[in-house]
Amino acid sequence: MIAALLWSTDHKVVALRSAVFSAFFFMAAGVAALVMRTELAEPGLQVVSREGYAELFTMHGSTMIFLVVIPVALGACLYLVPLQVGTTQISGARWAHGASLLLGLGGLVMWSGWLTREGPGRAGWYAYDPLANAPETPGNGMDLWVCGVLLVTVGSIVTAVCVLATLLRRRAPGMTLLRLPVFSWTALATCLLVIFSFPSLVVAFGLLLADRHGAHVLGPVSYQHLFWFYGHPAVYVMFFPFVGMVAEAASILSGRRFFGYRVFVIALLGFTALSISAWGHHMFTTGSVPTKLFALTSTALIVPAGIEYFDIVATLWNGAVRFGVPMLFVFGFLLQFVIGGLTGIWVASPVLDVQAQDSYFVVAHFHYTLFAGSMFGLFAGIYLWWPKVTGRFLSERLGRLHFGLLVLGTNLTFLPQFALGQDGMARRLADYPRATGWTTLNALSTVGSFVIAVALVVFVLAVVRSALAPRTAAADAWGGGMTLEWWTSSPPPPHNFDSLPPVRSYAPLYDLRRREEDDVPAPEGPEVLRA
């Protein structure tokens, strides 16, 4: 067991190992968030110092982005893509294994800064130059934080290369690109962004590290370009796989093929190209970027996003929708991400962005995209594929409770932050004067964060209960699987498949069911047997 965890190169074990690492870091980041929210519940410094608060928001943000959402997004691709394309293993299995270890080790390095005299990284998750320089943020803790992020980012790039190579070179016979499942297409888009934008962060942080050790090679604006060329696509890395999960869940649990598949694929590639071209809107207030270009690319994102939304909703339309827990999270994602998406138009406008810059409005916006959106998409995916991964189902009753509490907690936490931002509350503040009148909204937000914590405890209970239950899930656990992962046993064997059905569309299992219903003989071409 320990050996399997330490050096298995099976893509499923590697992905689950990454998920376990991320779960631990998620808990740590969650605790940091609760401490911050407790501090902000009322004016005055009650729990932490200003310095400690800077450490907390830096570690919370950087952990959630570098160690939780991105690794989970890539981990899902690592687990599901080989199964969806019908192959025995991931391309570059050793590389993927090493990359997942870099995630865990890099995370430990980031968090080991707490053991140093000066404390961990405390210059924000973006570590702007010159704030992150040695004179402004002295100490080994910051160096360790930069090293940790470098390791994790290199791990992410390597993972993406392995997934992309699998998608391009290991597809089952008959699976052309336009027969890739929807989730696999979102994985492909994710990999493009990781491979071609994340190296920019490696360069930025490498130069930052050199800068901290005396080589002055960075300017503030150059650093911001390098950082945000990574930072904005990273948002979509934390979004696309979860859209893919929602799309698959919508299709399976409504019993319909995905609506507008080809248009979705084209929109997704357009979305990807625009998303890597929109980083400048994070720099509007520097006055050093052509605002018209970046306002154009940022606002244009709404077109492919709208197409994807339309496709998912149209898939549900007139379908035999089963309101199980995964579908509840699909609806949670669809309804709440709209809030994050529409407030994105606000910050894509240079004039409005100047007002919102560095305020709680921005905090609320990105938490609606990443937590109310991506996290709900992730939970839709977790509840959908849990039976495939473990052979067991998660409790429906606890799942509904988890969903209800999470919706309540999420909106209670982040909705008041829009109003706080509009009223001028700046982000990264450990304290605020009572005269501002922000106490009630902050208290509500704090209560909401604890409701989120309770919701997550309920999810952990559901996981524990599932682990103690017998394995009852069939290969096609939901009885409506469309893609190849639902062909093999639950959980899949180490070699993934004993046989494969003929692949003649992006929904080969749906095709088989239709043929059986229509009593049409199977097309020529025997099943592909693999030892």
Partner: protein
Amino acid sequence: MRSGWLPLAAWGAALIAIALLGVLVFDLDTLPALLLAGAGACSLVSGLAVGVAERRRPHLDDREQPELVVRGSAATTIVAAGVTTALVGSAAAGPAFFWPGAGMIVLGLGGLVREWLAGRRLLRERRP
């Protein structure tokens, strides 16, 4: 149909087009233009390389040959641990970490070569 090169090449071309639009119409500066066009060029070249690879050798799953399924690699674990230790040593903790890390990298790379040779030997034995 094997067309793995297409999304890479098309996506790269799209990025170059957006970079050109930025430079020609919106006075985009050199660094951001280079970032965008550079990413596009890398994607385009990767796409072309995949296309060449697809022409030269059959798709992996089309080959009527046994394939080595790698199930574990202790050497990779040692290399990953070594890289982490060496980087921490070079940037923060000093030579007490750097040199053991470098040693682990060398040890791990040796192990990787050994694993690779064993895999080749196994494949040669199984080949009809």
